[in-house]
Amino acid sequence: MTILVIAENTNLALAPATLNTLAAAQKIGGDIHLLVAGESVGAVAEAAAKIAGVSKVLVADNAAYAHQLPENVTLLIAQLVQEQGYSHVLASATSNGKNILPRVAAKLDVDQISEIIAVESADTFKRPIYAGNAIATVQSTASVKVITVRATGFDPVAAEGGSAAIEALEAANDAGISSFVGEELASSDRPELTAAKIVVSGGRGMQNGDNFKHLYALADKLGAAVGASRAAVDAGFVPNDMQVGQTGKIVAPQLYIAVGISGAIQHLAGMKDSKVIVAINKDEDAPIFQVADYGLVADLFEAIPELEKLV
């Protein structure tokens, strides 16, 4: 059994979620090949070769893959799977993995299993459905199992300790039907939401976008990322890439501090696997307190500056 894992990368660096996806691959068992597709990805490939448990790094370095356009990358992956006969193809359930992998599955004429949170055996997996209100155990009889992996379900493998061979792939697939125009990425010195050890999130109780400065100050003191509930995003306080929840990012940090968040099911679906949850809300009946390890009923505009001073 040989598993192909798609490395999530920015051409410059390997995304941390790849290490969680590799952990899922190790649970399935077998040889693990890691595919690095992109442009000028030499440094990424070298980092990939050092990851514990990877036996081979395949590098597809071509302008056609620079922006991970699914029309092009799909052709590369599908061809690779057909030639090499992989038993499994895994990608992280990031916006990129979700964009590409179902296209790969359909090209290979197999069903896909999305966002697994546990590996029961080489063909049986657990995944949340209905926004995490139910957990399904599913079994696949597909000739090749195509799977996206939710990072919070698996502890990352060690980024060091391996010495995999690096093999360059010649294939240059450009479908010629899509092109990259540009991107607007949020620039921040704070850690990335899904990789942060501590997350501070604000909800509708923040009242406006300007008030998020209190959360940024607290987050900077804690080395935390800042998130938001869908209510805060819908109200226009902060951009959508900060959204934590069923329709946003799924996080499971060591500490999650929910500030002015009522605790709608859709938000809980994105953070309930956090190790320790703190809720600060002036409404003592807010549902968020039902999942919080530590609840503080207080006006957040008094509590947050005080908390920032004391930590």
Binding site: Q112, A136, V138, E184, L185, V291, Y294
Partner: protein
């Protein structure tokens, strides 16, 4: 330009679903069903394209049981011109749905296919991308802005770090994200008019598509319940607990 929109009948998003006692699935008896929220956004986008004069005809399609006609009528009331139901009472995987939609695309030859990015029941987030593979169309998933210009469409996509803009050759597949638009409500006169709009019904067999699946659901369980902890009285007590009890800061 003809636009095809796919919609799915799902449990209403306000319903708190319960797992059946025998762990065979989720209890759907006597539960309110609605159009998947992301599909509502897809329909709205098609209607706006028609209002702008970009789209000339909107065909709405659903794969599902007879009762999915309700959701198709809703889409017709919102502004779609005609509807197609591919009727099946079987549970169909995203791949099977994509194959059925491919058959409809072959018949209808749309320039743009708009779908929701995921259904809130199975949470798969697969169908649009799979249809892209089967048709070899370009794809703009998780769209928050769609602008058609000539034989191209520019799509702004919600990605993990922010936004990405891509230009796609038509025909193209678009999947809607939450911020693409805010769907309208159907007016009563439009609901009445929708009853007279054409609705065709096909079976998967008639379209020559097999819906056999390679995935079997072995069991469905309720998630582990997280118990409530304690209420602290002050910020100082909270900091003390986090430092000395939970040891997370």
């Amino acid at each position: 330009m003809k636009v095809l929109v796919a919609v799915k009948r799902v449990v209403d998003y306000n319903v708190k679903v319960r797992v059946k006692a025998d762990n065979s699935g989720v209890d759907l008896a006597n539960v309110k069903m609605s159009m998947n929220p992301f599909c509502e956004i897809a329909v709205e986008e098609a209607v706006r394209l028609k209002e702008k004069g970009v789209a000339t005809e909107i065909v709405v399609v659903s794969i599902g049981p007879t009762t999915a006609q309700e959701q198709l009528r809703t889409a017709l009331a919102l502004g779609a011109d005609r509807a197609i139901l591919v009727e099946t009472s079987d549970e169909v995987t995203s791949l099977a749905v994509a194959k059925l939609l491919k058959a409809v695309v072959d018949k209808e030859q749309p320039q743009l296919v708009i779908l929701g990015k995921q259904a809130i029941d199975s949470d798969n987030n697969q169908t649009g991308q799979m249809l892209g593979a089967l048709t070899d169309f370009s794809q703009g998933t998780f769209a928050s802005k769609v602008e058609v210009a000539g034989d191209k469409v520019q799509v702004t996509r919600e990605i993990d770090g922010g936004l990405q803009i891509v230009e796609l050759a038509l025909p193209a597949i678009i999947t809607s994200d939450l911020r693409l638009n805010e769907p309208r409500y159907a007016s009563l006169p439009n609901i009445m008019k929708a009853k007279k709009k054409p609705l065709e019904v096909f079976t998967p067999d008639a379209l020559g598509v097999s819906t056999v699946s390679t995935i079997k659901t072995l069991s469905v369980e309720a998630p582990a319940i997280r118990g409530a902890g304690i209420k602290v009285k002050s910020v100082a007590e909270l900091v003390d607990k986090l430092k000395n009890e939970a040891k997370v800061i």
